[in-house]
Symmetry: C2
Subunit: 209 residues, 2 copies
Amino acid sequence: MLNIYGFHLSQPSNAVRMLANALGLEFEYHELNAPEGEHRAPEHIKRHPVGKMPAIEDGDVTLFESTAIMKYLCKKAGSDMYPDDLIKQAKIDQWCSFVSVHVYMAYGRVVFNRLLAPQLGFPVDETSLAAGEEFLERFLPAIDQQLGSSKYLAGDSLSIADILLLATIDPSEAVGIDLKKYPNLIAWREALVPQAFYQDVHAFFGQAA
Amino acid sequence: MLNIYGFHLSQPSNAVRMLANALGLEFEYHELNAPEGEHRAPEHIKRHPVGKMPAIEDGDVTLFESTAIMKYLCKKAGSDMYPDDLIKQAKIDQWCSFVSVHVYMAYGRVVFNRLLAPQLGFPVDETSLAAGEEFLERFLPAIDQQLGSSKYLAGDSLSIADILLLATIDPSEAVGIDLKKYPNLIAWREALVPQAFYQDVHAFFGQAA
């Protein structure tokens, strides 16, 4: 049985859950109480050496990092959301990395300072918040342009890059990131959010797990 | 012919060059004059929509993001630095993502504030610098522990995860990050730095391209 360990405000955790739904996998989801530090407890440090989320246990295999997990699950299932073609795979890898390294990092600054810091009593870092917003002004137009040139992020069919992006931009409304300037991104998102793989995680970002 | 576009102070650019050397590929390296903004010029925006480095052109294929490029080059060459085994690949993906998303992000804060900001006349962000150093205090022990339990980062043979890590920690001395606390990391690094694939990029980080 596949076990997924995550937190409902963790975008990468939600990406893995959405993918497991999209693949039709049977799995058990374990919500870690991150505000209480359950992700830093010895039990979870066995799964992830610095206590990040998500992590999975799949029989004998323990794995962390959302993109690695998503590729593993797709390859194991033989899914065309990560097809076995050199160029297609390279383009999916490219966009997954662009989203997880750059777009997620920028969202992280905004989500931390607008949502988590106030909730958890940490000081807001206005410089970091402003930098996050500036990065998004640079990165989201590239995403919007790409979604104007192909139906999905890495080509003409749905891939793990789309699911990762969908979960990454999920907190936009909750933290005041305005996506109206990005019509292709909005249209792409509106086609995906109603689907069962998303709705089975939550109806909207932040909904209690 | 493979063309690699990069900048000699860009760790991901150097990772791709080191890998191309390690694979014994014929390639042309193009140093972009980043301080003069050559990476944001229209010519490079055709290769990377937000002007990041590295990017490659390999015949008809244009690709960006170092991890995507490294996987593509290995698979094309049939190299066992990214072998075709489900679990081995997942572990390499996991460590590549951990390094590029978390370790590189933390180095980025330190490298920017200690090296680039003073050179380019940007203000130093002491909060971001301190956060980068704190992240490294959390992430590098996990790397050191892993390199104590296996010869290489993702198992018993050299993989792209090692080359990515080697290039990522390359600026440590130049920006005052002390690795002495991490004996496994030091021993692993000392075995790799003398090798031709590294020395053919530079004898030390920061050496002019």
